[in-house]
């Protein structure tokens, strides 16, 4: 509970509305997009695939945002340490960790 993999939509089936071809690292599989009927899916979109069904559309923006937040971890600390070094910690409010 539960193996789900990000895969890119490469093609929609001409015959079946809820059938699409996705690709993961060069491996292709047909999946059912019936659970994302409410979303407007396009080729190039990334979806989370579980037991042959697309469960969710992946937000690249959110993914980048997350990585950015984590990459900045420790940078706020560095700033604070530098400031502390100048003995200014009482007059400057500590940034949110």
């Amino acid at each position: 509970m539960c193996l789900a993999i990000p895969a890119k939509i490469v093609e929609f089936s001409a015959e079946e509305q809820t059938r699409a071809l996705v690709e993961v690292a060069g491996v292709r599989r047909h999946i059912d997009t019936g659970l994302l009927a409410d979303e407007s899916l396009r080729t190039g979109d990334w979806v989370l695939v579980h037991v042959g069904f697309a469960m969710s559309k992946i937000s690249e923006e959110q993914a980048l945002d997350q990585i950015r937040t984590l990459t900045m971890l420790g940078e706020q600390e560095a700033v604070l340490e530098e400031v502390t070094g100048y003995g200014l910690e009482e007059s400057i409010a500590a940034p949110d960790p």
Partner: protein, 376 residues
């Protein structure tokens, strides 16, 4: 691999692990439960425990749909395949789980037609390709998997495919979490919340955990960075004396869940009044069954199900391990009578069962053998 490799970046993992260490107050001992078996598997596979400070303890929860299935249900499913006209289909995860007279794979070795499928739609396709046979799909899983079974049932009905049935063993996660919190031995400080279940049910169903039980719960992804970031978020809440539901897995989990998936489930499934969870007893409103409108596709209507309750051997402590009261290694049978090769309980057979995960990935790291022990 996109959306995977970025979340395994060593430099960012290092930083995040450092932040965990910085936030975890040294005088305090933290116990976080990861509910979902997928998280248990990830924690061991990525060796994440090695990155955590000593005072953070990860407790494995009951979110393993194979582990919580009582042995009797496996026997019930296998009894349906006695009839040589029936093809028994199930996910690979089920194949080695022992029933009273052997696992599905062992039954296959004796000649029963048992096949692994990757998707419920594969089982339906098999039924279409074999109109003279009956295909029974042994459905397991939490709310992550139930919508796919639901949609498959809807497709079967719409196409009039009658030689197909579902033996429904889908269970729901909230009652399991409630059972954990109601347990008198419970000492959990916070929860690493299920990631993929939440793509379906959203984050709202966890609000009572924060509000009524005052435990932080962070819905988490499955990559190393996801799990570490979730721990950071939990620690921040605890340090601030807060308890709320947070969504770490934003790139995939919508706060409101997946409406189409919930709709499909509502159309095809009903809640059972009660269902037996292995090691946890009967829990009310915790499992799904097919609605009357789908009775023709319900394996429990199609076949006479023995419904025999099989109790676990007294020495097996599956229940306590499932609830996080005992660590796998504390069960008297662990590593001796109960190994992945000869599993007594499902926790040792399912790849995300805490006992199997611990055995396969961990316990020999902790015990330095000073002499060679030959396991035959």
């Amino acid at each position: 691999m996109k959306f995977v490799d970025e979340f395994r970046d060593p430099a960012v993992i290092s930083k995040t692990a450092e932040e965990v260490r910085r936030l975890a107050g040294p005088s305090r001992h933290y116990r976080f439960m990861e509910v979902c078996g997928g998280h248990t598997h990830a924690i061991y596979r990525f060796g994440l425990k090695d990155l955590l400070p000593e005072n953070i303890e990860l407790v494995h929860g009951p979110g393993c749909p194979v582990c919580v299935l009582p042995m009797g249900r496996i026997d019930d499913g296998l009894s349906m395949a006695q009839d040589s006209n029936t093809i028994f289909t199930a996910f690979g995860d089920m194949m080695r789980v022992p029933g009273r007279h052997g696992s599905p794979l062992q039954h296959k070795a004796r000649g029963m037609d048992i096949r692994i499928v990757y998707s419920p739609s594969d089982a339906l396709k098999l039924a279409q390709k074999n109109p003279e046979r009956h295909v029974m799909f042994f459905a397991i899983g939490f709310e992550t998997t139930a919508p796919s079974t639901a949609l498959t049932l809807m497709r079967a009905k719409a196409a009039g495919i009658r030689n197909f049935s579902v033996f429904c063993n889908h269970v729901t996660i909230i009652p399991a979490i409630r059972a954990i919190l109601d347990s008198p031995d419970m000492r959990i400080d916070a929860f690493i919340g299920p990631g993929h279940v939440s793509t379906v049910i959203g984050c709202r169903p966890y609000e009572w955990i924060a509000r009524n039980e005052h435990k932080p719960i962070v819905v988490s992804g499955f990559e190393p960075l996801d799990i570490l970031q979730s721990i950071v978020m939990i620690l921040r809440q605890l340090n601030a004396g807060e308890a709320k539901v947070e969504n770490q897995y934003k790139r995939v989990v919508p706060w409101e869940g997946n409406r189409a998936a919930l709709k499909a489930m509502a159309e095809t499934f009903d809640l059972r009044n009660y269902f037996e969870w292995r090691g946890m007893g009967f829990i009310s409103q915790s499992a799904l069954r097919l609605r009357d409108a789908y009775a023709d596709w319900d394996a429990e209507h199609r076949f006479a199900v023995p419904g025999i309750r099989v109790t676990d051997p007294k020495a097996a402590q599956c229940g306590e391990v499932l609830k996080g009261v005992l660590k796998p290694v504390q069960c008297k049978l662990f590593g001796k009578e109960c190994t992945p090769e000869n599993p007594v309980g499902a926790l040792m057979v399912s790849s995300e069962g805490s006992c199997a995960a611990y055995y396969n990935y961990e316990h020999r790291k902790r015990e330095a053998f000073t002499q060679l022990s030959v396991a035959v």
